[in-house]
């Protein structure tokens, strides 16, 4: 199974943003149920996003999870870097057995391509904010059959 941390974190942040816009309080159990995932996985991601200054959470009857800043000031690149710091697209494992000419020499090629791909992806993510995601969700909701 692949790494689902980034899409899950993005879904958490977008869900919090949608709820905030609708005046609905968000809690970890609510997020775990809505995302159909493990509550401890949600808590871990919320903790990481809180430390990164993307979310804030408070206890108590009126507490819950909120965006730490306005949705227009949170770029997806920031979110990505908080969840997957220093991750390269195609990191070459040091443990690959050098059994043929390709395995012995592919590291340099993979590294160069990975750098270029990472830069291209970062450029896209730095141009998209949580507010853009909210706008797109609203548009998708309005274009749904049966919606007004």
């Amino acid at each position: 199974m692949g790494d689902t941390r980034f899409p899950t974190a993005l879904q958490i942040v977008v869900t919090v943003a949608v709820n905030e816009a609708a005046g609905i309080r968000t809690t970890s159990p609510m997020l775990a149920a809505a995302l159909d995932t493990n509550p401890s996985f949600v808590r871990k991601l919320v903790s990481t996003l809180t430390k990164a200054g993307i979310l804030s959470s408070s206890d108590g009857a009126s507490g819950g999870i909120r965006l730490a800043r306005g949705p227009e000031s949170i770029q997806l690149l920031e979110l990505h870097n908080a969840i997957l710091p220093d991750q390269r697209s195609w990191s070459t494992r040091e443990t690959i057995p050098s059994i043929c000419a390709v395995t012995r020499n592919i590291g340099a090629i993979s590294g160069q391509l990975s750098e270029r791909a990472d830069a291209a992806i970062a450029k896209v993510l730095s141009g998209v904010s949580v507010a853009d995601c909210l706008k797109q969700i609203t548009e998708l909701e309005q274009s749904r059959p049966g919606s007004l």
């Binding site: 697209s89 020499n105 391509l113 291209a120």
Partner: protein, 140 residues
Amino acid sequence: MRSSLDMNQDFSHALRALLVIAYNQAISRPTFKDEIINCSTAKPSSMLSIIDTLVSAGIVASRANVCTLLRSPSSLMLHEIYSITTPVVEGNSMFARLYASLLDRTTSAVSLEFGDLDLQQSLESLVESMDRAETASRDG
């Protein structure tokens, strides 16, 4: 749903498989499926699935466990390989559709970045690395 935006390891494994075949063809040696599987860190079942994808795309032929390139390395663009090995997002929820559009944008950006790169250039880089390593080993 596909996982992270930038964790398309299938591309890396496909490139490795294609380089093994291209290199062997350049030195007139057959490429057995087992060699491709052993040259990768992916599970054998994943590598076989990647080979099947390349066969379905008309890039590779596989007969009697021997793989060959159906096209010249210079006509095989890396963005084409990237697109073929990039899975699509499944699901029809609002978030799945939002994420699919984000994936489309990142995939297009990477494809654009790889625009003029072809397999022949990667093979030449590989051979250069091999020459440098051999020289260093001889001199050192």
